[in-house]
């Protein structure tokens, strides 16, 4: 049995004192950083959106000096390459190896769907900065998922009403990407437009990666009041350019990503005069957006758009939730609860709250694309305040109907 010498006693006493002194330090100094997984896209067709997301994210963290709720933030950025299988692997890495406290991402709806089951299983808070698929916050809502963007149709209900009531359009042709985002956006427009007395008389669905819109443009009826266009990524640019080549016989109204700031900078005069709707545009006059848009412009030399604002808002949501739980992000349940009751007074969207399904309630604006200060901008002409994903419809009845799709709601006026 070893005997205790004076020396070892002294040593252990010293060590014990030192330890207790450390424990007495303010909590912040010894807390490990909050780990946030950020899923972006750096290669392939979606890379442009991914880059804008990274800018929004970087800007948000810089604005907060890299801190949330008094704790340092460690951002772990991964590239999903825009592929669902890779997204799943990256999500697993973030959760199991990096042990992140929350995930911001991924970019595309099909990526979000690919990790839906996984995040339910492991229970990690996920904030989507851009995936707009309706059912993620509707019929298949996930307790661990909230969204910092609207649903595909959220702004299009407003455009449908505006087209019928204010623009007094009677008959409209729709053309949109043949995938869920295009289907859902068009369905929302059609529903509100027809409920207000308009008629959708023709619906065209070019495949997502179609090389040439010529054969579709030749089909667009010219005896109508407008063409409603719902395109994502670079397709809006191609469609508007080709449509102009064909003489643009009918005026264009559009879903927000068709003329988003992200591609507006690549467009020419073919975009001038397009009327669109959305929850974000760089020019909108809401508390906090002027500073945000000017800041992004100064730092990155381009106007913020859908993805920039989405990633920034996701980051701001997380910040607000972390503050609400006093930085104690290890309690996942509490963090998730705080996320679901986030309320921001200002920012790119202005005032925003989440509904009980985890989807933002925010202003939707009607904008007209104009050339101003030497560049194309979406100038706000009307604001619909506090728009929800259900528009004016009763949420229960809304959710009892099938999800928006290519054929729902049915178009009863085709060919008229």
């Amino acid at each position: 049995m070893p005997t205790l010498t004076k020396r070892t006693v002294a040593c252990s006493w010293l060590a014990a004192t030192a330890l207790s002194a450390l424990a007495a330090l303010p909590a912040a100094a010894q807390q490990p950083p909050i780990k946030v997984g950020f899923m972006t896209v750096r290669s392939g067709a979606l890379a442009a959106g991914g880059k804008q997301m990274e800018q929004g994210m970087e800007y948000c963290l810089a604005e907060r000096n890299g801190m949330m709720g008094g704790r340092k933030v460690e951002l772990i950025t991964v590239d999903t390459a825009g592929q669902p299988a890779t997204t799943k692997t990256r999500a697993q890495e973030l959760v199991e190896r990096e042990r992140v406290n929350a995930i911001i991402g991924p970019l595309a709806a099909f990526e979000a769907l690919a990790i839906d089951d996984y995040i339910r299983q492991v229970g990690v808070p996920v904030i989507s900065p851009s995936a707009a698929a309706e059912d993620l916050t509707q019929r298949k809502q996930n307790p661990w998922f909230v969204r910092a963007v609207g649903t595909s149709a959220q702004a299009n209900h407003a455009l449908g009403e505006y087209a019928a009531k204010d623009l007094k359009l009677k008959r409209v042709v729709t053309i949109g990407d043949d995938f869920a985002f295009g289907h859902e956006a068009t369905a929302g427009f059609q529903r509100a437009f027809e409920d207000n007395g308009g008629k959708v008389v023709q619906k065209l669905w070019p495949p997502l990666n179609v090389a040439d819109y010529g054969s579709y443009i030749s089909q667009i009826r010219t005896d109508v009041d407008a063409v409603y266009a719902a395109f994502a990524g670079g397709n809006g640019l191609r469609f508007l350019q080709q449509y102009a080549e064909y003489g643009a016989p009918v005026k264009v109204i559009a879903q927000m990503t068709t003329v988003d700031e992200g591609i507006l900078k690549s467009m020419g005069k073919e975009a001038v005069g397009v009327i669109s709707s959305g929850w974000y545009t760089a020019t909108q006059d809401v508390p906090g957006n002027k500073e945000f848009a000017a800041g992004i412009r100064a730092k990155y030399g381009a106007d913020p758009g859908y993805y920039t604002a989405g990633a920034y808002a996701a980051c701001a949501f997380l910040d607000a939730a972390v503050k609400a739980v006093d930085g104690k992000v290890e309690d996942k349940q509490a963090l998730m609860k705080a996320l679901r009751s986030v309320k921001l007074e200002k920012g790119p969207y202005g005032e925003v709250t989440l509904d009980e399904y985890g989807n933002p309630i925010m202003n939707v604006t009607i904008r007209k694309t104009e050339e101003k200060d030497g560049r194309l901008q979406n100038v706000v002409i009307k604001t619909y305040p506090k728009v929800t994903q259900f528009w004016i419809y009763d949420p229960k009845a809304f959710l009892a109907d099938p999800v928006y799709s290519r054929d729902y709601p049915p178009a009863k006026n085709l060919g008229q």
Partner: protein, 286 residues
């Protein structure tokens, strides 16, 4: 009537564009038996280089010529330094060109960013013309004419010149061509340059219609393969017929049976391949 006129013009323009894309691929495959999977990437590189030249102040035509020459030179370098080492080994060659496709695509993304960009048509060709009741973009009429001119030029080159005779001889039997004094080595490099230059030119000509964006290569390569498989690998006539056939099938298919656009595109290929596995105008490769 208007419907048939305007959609036929659409089909001809698309077919013309596909011919520009596929003729180079077919030429290279016919002579060298190399399925150059970097062809789509070179098409995209051509479009980006053309755009860069236009932004640097070149006119559209000078930009098109610059891009074609630059991509052709790159093709020559690829053939001389890389493909040559793998002569006769099909699988390594295919993997090499596939790897090159990824590298070129990523290099484009790094250089020009992910934003889609528009390549405006030359001012004298912008706007639309009225043909009967149909309205048709002037630039697409030019594409129809230009692709026909390229087709005629290639046909004259292969069928009516000494160089063409050498190409035909080497396509039929490289060993015999060598034996009678054809320098197959020079010929291979020249044809690879020509084929890739056509891809680069096609990229610039296609730019005003397709716009220029990061996955343009992935959208175009399958169409090139489709044309070549349908028309028959290595045959110029095959590429010509295949390109316009696909142009018409695709255009009218997606207009008349919109829900089956892709099925319609691949159905004739299956039909042709089950009857003539070498394609419509392909020869059995020895």
């Amino acid at each position: 009537m208007t419907f048939w006129v305007s959609q036929s013009l659409n089909a001809l323009a698309l077919g013309g564009l596909l011919f520009m894309l596929a003729s180079g691929f077919s030429l290279i495959f016919g002579l060298m038996r190399v399925a150059n999977l970097a062809h789509g990437a070179l098409f995209m590189l051509g479009a980006y280089l053309g755009l860069a030249a236009v932004k640097a102040g070149f006119g559209f035509w000078a930009a098109a010529a610059t891009a074609a020459v630059a991509v052709g030179l790159l093709g020559g370098i690829i053939e001389r330094t890389l493909l040559r080492r793998l002569a006769g080994r099909t699988l390594p060659q295919v993997l090499l060109t596939l790897g090159l496709a990824f590298i070129i695509a990523d290099a484009c993304l790094m250089t020009w960013g992910g934003d889609p960009m528009r390549l405006p048509p030359p001012p004298e060709l912008s706007g639309a013309v009225r043909i009967g009741d149909a309205v048709f973009p002037r630039y697409r009429l030019f594409v129809i004419g230009a692709s026909a001119a390229v087709a005629l030029g290639l046909w004259l080159l292969v069928e009516r010149t000494r160089a063409g005779a050498m190409i035909r001889a080497a396509v039929d039997d490289v060993g015999m061509a060598r034996a009678i004094g054809v320098s197959a080595s020079t010929l291979f490099t020249a044809v690879f340059c020509l084929g890739t230059a056509l891809a680069g030119l096609g990229g610039v000509i296609g730019g005003p219609i397709l716009s220029v964006y990061p996955s343009l290569d992935q959208d175009m390569l399958p169409l090139a393969l489709l044309v070549v498989i349908l028309g028959g690998a290595g045959s110029l006539v095959g590429a010509f017929v295949g390109a316009y056939a696909i142009g018409f099938i695709y255009t009218f298919g997606q207009v008349l049976v919109p829900d089956l656009a892709y099925v319609i595109l691949f159905l004739p290929m299956i039909a042709v391949l089950s009857v003539a596995p070498q394609g419509l105008f392909g020869r059995r490769l020895g």
